[in-house]
């Protein structure tokens, strides 16, 4: 019998048992849910993004599955960073024995405020802090301006880096920019240790019988299958601009999808919408399929497929 291929990866300083990382905002709203996903075999788990203060998010409907993907406008529901610290500390205690790193995620309305949220979240000592500069569901004050522009993205990165006390950070980029590679370069130059790519793509689904957008927020963020080629292209472009590890995220539903993302240059693979398409145990299934793929193609280690299609 052949040996199982080695699927452990190094994400900068972090060691992951496998490359599959729970994406932010999906089931990451409580220690119990993070614990559950870790038990299902995740290499690492990301908590829901938290901001300076509590947000209840948008009114319902907040999510719809259309034919080729999901569309959501949850609206960054979160308890505020002070309560998030407690949540993360509880989660850490649950994850430590499982040897599953915990990734926190933060957002804010200005570079300065990003720094403040970072300094508070650092108290929980997460293994990595994702900096969400790219959520399309919150307008003007949050999100878009930072991910859209290389300079403001870098300013946020520096502000977080200064206050995070040595915890590595991953800036999370948006797909609706003309030059994601250049933006990646700019945040890496400003100190980002890892890049997460991508967040959802802005979209709208109108129900023609109702003659209304389905989401209360009208537009939302597109994720799932339709996003995959967009994400793969972004990852491939970023991988040509920077040398830091990339968490490739967007539309990964199967082990072959994960392999595609890694061949495009991702070191780890974010998994979000798959938890709807394949259930809360999606990561377990994807992990087994990735191993099957590697075995069938004679790869001894997942590192062999890294950047293979570039």
């Amino acid at each position: 019998m052949k040996h199982d291929p080695d699927i452990s990866v190094k994400l900068g300083r972090l060691s992951l048992k496998n490359p599959l990382v729970l994406a932010s905002g999906v089931m990451g709203t409580s220690p119990e849910l993070l614990h559950r996903v870790a038990l299902s075999g995740a290499g690492a788990v990301t908590a829901k993004s938290c901001g300076p203060t509590l947000r209840t998010g948008h009114p319902n409907p907040v999510m719809v599955a259309w034919e080729h993907g999901l569309l959501n406008a949850i609206g960054l529901t979160n308890p505020g960073v002070d309560d998030e610290v407690k949540l993360l500390m509880d989660a850490k205690q649950r994850l430590n024995p499982l040897n599953v790193p915990l990734i926190a995620s933060i957002f804010a309305g200005s570079a300065e405020e990003f720094g403040e949220v970072a300094s508070i979240v650092a108290e929980a000592e997460p293994d990595l802090v994702e900096v969400n500069i790219s959520c399309p569901n919150v307008h003007d004050d949050f999100g878009l301006p930072f991910a859209a522009d290389a300079k403001s993205a870098a300013a946020v990165t520096r502000a977080v880096k200064q206050k995070i006390g040595g915890i590595p950070i991953a800036v999370k980029l948006a797909p609706n920019v003309p030059d994601i590679g250049r933006i990646a370069k700019s945040v890496v130059d400003a100190g980002s240790d890892v890049i997460t790519a991508i967040n959802t793509m802005p979209g709208m689904v109108i129900d023609v019988d109702a003659a209304q957008p389905v989401l209360h927020n009208r537009s939302g963020g597109l994720s799932g299958p339709a996003l995959k080629p967009i994400a793969v292209r972004c990852v491939a472009e970023i991988a040509q601009f920077v040398d830091v590890p990339i968490i490739g995220t967007g539309g990964v539903l199967t082990g072959r999808d994960a392999a595609e993302m890694m061949m495009a240059g991702a070191t780890a693979v974010g998994v979000g919408s798959a938890l709807w398409y394949r259930g809360p145990d999606a990561i377990k299934l994807i992990k087994a399929e990735l191993q099957d793929f590697l075995r069938e193609n004679g790869y001894k280690s997942v590192c062999e497929i890294f950047r293979k299609a570039l």
């Binding site: 905002g25 999906v26 089931m27 990451g28 709203t29 409580s30 119990e32 849910l33 993070l34 614990h35 559950r36 996903v37 038990l39 829901k48 998010g57 009114p59 319902n60 409907p61 907040v62 999510m63 719809v64 599955a65 259309w66 034919e67 999901l70 959501n72 949850i74 529901t77 129900d207 019988d209 109702a210 003659a211 209304q212 389905v214 209360h216 979000g272 919408s273 938890l275 709807w276 259930g279 809360p280």
Partner: protein
């Protein structure tokens, strides 16, 4: 399991008490009793509702706030939008069922009773409410040939006290195979304890604040703090709303 909204037309709407309506829609829904739908009224909002009738789709709506109020204001021929069926429903096992309902909890239990009675299973029902007016659908259960007992906190009908009291009495008197319940969290916690004591298999339909209804947003987590028998990270919209607890095999 559908994640898309589909338009449905109202074919009948009738008040069954001053604050409660029964709404019937065109077309069936292929679902287990206990599954639910997300109902969307454009420009108004979206809320979860238990499937109270399968063929055709029927919902029981208690007017407690803006959304349920808007639902009751619908007219025959109006459209609303339905996403689902969602979640896991009840699954009938054994020969003798005890159903326990609080408030609109009667809704999924009615669909369940109908299915069980079609299989000639004996179905006893205990309904509880503050007062007689809150005891919903008791006629419908009687019509199906269920034995129905009542408990009201003000004693206006049946047992003067909590529905859990009459449940205890019935469990001691009759060897049920399964208890199925839907109602407020407090009721379910009490029932969970009673069943643990009596080692009675049970399926409890838990309430939770639902947002996505699709197992992603985490809003509907029912924590182990509420019932330690639940597995870690249990989502009412995806894993539930019905949780199965087996003591016998």
């Amino acid at each position: 399991m559908g994640g898309k909204f589909e338009a449905r037309k109202v074919t009948a709407i009738s008040k069954i008490n001053p604050v409660t309506s029964w709404i019937r829609f065109d077309g069936d829904i292929y679902a287990q009793p206990g599954q639910f739908v997300m109902v969307w009224l454009p420009k108004i909002g979206e809320k979860p509702f238990s499937i109270a009738e399968l063929n055709p789709l029927g919902l029981l709506v208690v007017d407690v706030g803006p959304f349920s109020h808007a639902l009751q204001a619908l007219q025959v021929g109006d459209s609303l939008w339905v996403k689902g069926p969602l979640g896991q429903g009840f699954s009938i096992t054994g020969e003798r069922l005890l159903l326990v309902g609080g408030g609109y909890g009667s809704a999924p239990l009615l669909a369940l009773a109908k299915k069980a009675r079609a299989q000639n299973i004996t179905v006893d029902v205990c309904l509880g409410a503050r007062s007689e007016a809150g005891l919903l659908l008791s006629d419908a259960f009687l019509e199906l040939g269920c034995q129905v007992s009542y408990a009201t906190e003000d004693g206006s009908l049946g047992w003067h006290g909590l529905v859990t009291d009459i449940v205890e009495q019935k469990i001691q008197a009759i060897a049920y195979d399964l208890l199925c319940a839907c109602g407020p969290t407090g009721l379910l916690s009490a029932l969970s304890n009673i069943c643990k004591t009596h080692r009675l298999d049970n399926q409890l339909s838990w309430e939770a604040h639902m947002r996505c209804g699709m197992g992603l947003c985490g809003s509907c987590l029912v924590s182990q703090n509420i019932d330690e028998l639940l597995p870690v990270g249990w989502l009412a919209c995806y894993d539930g709303p019905v949780f199965y607890q087996k003591f016998r095999d």
